[in-house]
Point group: C2
Chain length 186, copies 2
DNA sequence: TTTATCATGTAAGTCGTTACATGATTGA
DNA sequence: TCAATCATGTAACGACTTACATGATAAA
C-alpha cells in the first residue's frame, strides 16, 4: 500500500495527471520508489473507486487532453494516518542479483568477479555524478532558475536534502566496498 | 528467475530439502535474498518439471520424512550460465517505505521524524550486532565448532566475507546518516 | 503444557513488469 | 523524417506474501 501513500503524498501538494506523477517519481524519488505508468494508472483508478481521489478531464489544444486527479478529504486523512504511523520496517528486504552472483563468486572465478566489480564501479560512479551535478549547478548559480522542478522543490525542504545525502552516502559506500574487494583480489 | 539461480546454487553444493534451503536463505544470504517457504516449494516443483532438479523421499524415524532435491546436469549447466553471464543491473531498484515517509517529513513534523530516526537506529544497531557476533566468536575461538553451519562455510570463502563486509558497511552508513540527521534536527 | 523445530504443501490475493495499442506535437 | 515528449489505458504474466491445513518430536 505504499505506492498508494506515495501518490497521495504527491497529490496532497497539488492535483496532477498520472503522467505527471510518473515524472515526479522519476525525478524526485527514484532512489526510494519507482513505479511504471501502467501501475500508476491502475492504482489511481482503484483509488478513485475508493473515494481517495477524484478526477476530471482537462482540455488541451496543443497536447493530448489529460485526466487530472485531486486528493479528497478522505484521501488526505488516509495519507496523514500512514505518514504518522509507527513504521514497522527499517531494513528494506532487498533482492540483489549482483550480490547473489557474488555469493557464488568462488565458482565463477576471480577474473569474472573482477570484471563484474569494475562494471559495477562504472555504473555507481555515474549514478553518483548524476546526483551531484544538480547540486553543483545550484552552488554555482544560487537562486537561479536553471534547476529542474524537482530540484527547486527539494532545496526548500530539508528532508529532501536528507534523502539526497543518504543516496550519496550509499553510493560512496558501494564504491569504497568495490574498490576494497578489487584490491584484495589483486 | 534469480530465486531459481539461488536455489540451484545451493543445491550445486549438496542435495537438500526445501526446508533446509529456507534455513540457508535465512542464515547465509538474508541480506541479499529472501524467500518464503511456500515460494521455495513452488519453485522446486516447477524446476523438477523442467528437469533442473530431481527429488526423492528420505525416510526419518524421529522426524517427518523429507523430500530431498538434487541438481541435475541440466540444472548445473543452467546455473553456470547464469553465474558467468554479464550482469545487467548494478543498482537494485528498491522500495523503501521508511524513506518514503521521510520524503514527506516536513508534513509529519520534526518530532515524529526524530522518533522515527531513533527507532531506526535501534534496529540497525541491533542488526549490526547480530552480524558482528559470529565474527567475534570466530575470533575468540579459532577453529572451533561453536559456529553455525553457515558461518563455517563462510569462513572458507572470501566472497562470503566480501558480502558480510558489504552488509556491515551498509549498516554503518545508515547509522552515520541517521545520527547526522538527528544532529541537524536538534 | 506450551512453544520451538522440523517438514510439506495449497490457495488466494497483492504487487510489479512487459507487451500491446493509440495518437498528437515538437525539435533535430 | 525520425526520435522524443506528452498522454492514457488494457491484458497477460511473473514474483512475492499471507493465510490455511497438517502433524510429529523435543525441550522448557
Amino acid at each position: 500500500m505504499s505506492l498508494r501513500s506515495a501518490i497521495l503524498g504527491l497529490l496532497n501538494k497539488e492535483p496532477m495527471s498520472g503522467y505527471a506523477i510518473k515524472t515526479l517519481f522519476d525525478e524526485a524519488i527514484n532512489f526510494i520508489w519507482q513505479a511504471e505508468l501502467s501501475q500508476i494508472y491502475r492504482e489511481l483508478d482503484a483509488m478513485e473507486k475508493e473515494g481517495l481521489v477524484t478526477s476530471s478531464i482537462e482540455q488541451q489544444h496543443d497536447r493530448p487532453n489529460k485526466r487530472v486527479y485531486s486528493i479528497t478529504e478522505s484521501g488526505r486523512a488516509r495519507f496523514m494516518e500512514w505518514l504518522t504511523a509507527v513504521p514497522e520496517q527499517f531494513l528494506v528486504p532487498k533482492r540483489d542479483e549482483f550480490m547473489l552472483r557474488f555469493f557464488f563468486g568462488s565458482l565463477a572465478g576471480d577474473d569474472v568477479m573482477k570484471r563484474s566489480l569494475e562494471q559495477m564501479l562504472l555504473h555507481v560512479r555515474k549514478a553518483r555524478e548524476a546526483l551531484l551535478e544538480p547540486m553543483r549547478i545550484a552552488a554555482r548559480h544560487p537562486g537561479d532558475a536553471l534547476m529542474a522542478r524537482a530540484d527547486r522543490a527539494c532545496r526548500e525542504d530539508r528532508y529532501c536534502g536528507f534523502i539526497k545525502k543518504r543516496a550519496l552516502m550509499t553510493y560512496e559506500t558501494m564504491i569504497r566496498w568495490a574498490e576494497e574487494c578489487l584490491a584484495e583480489l589483486k
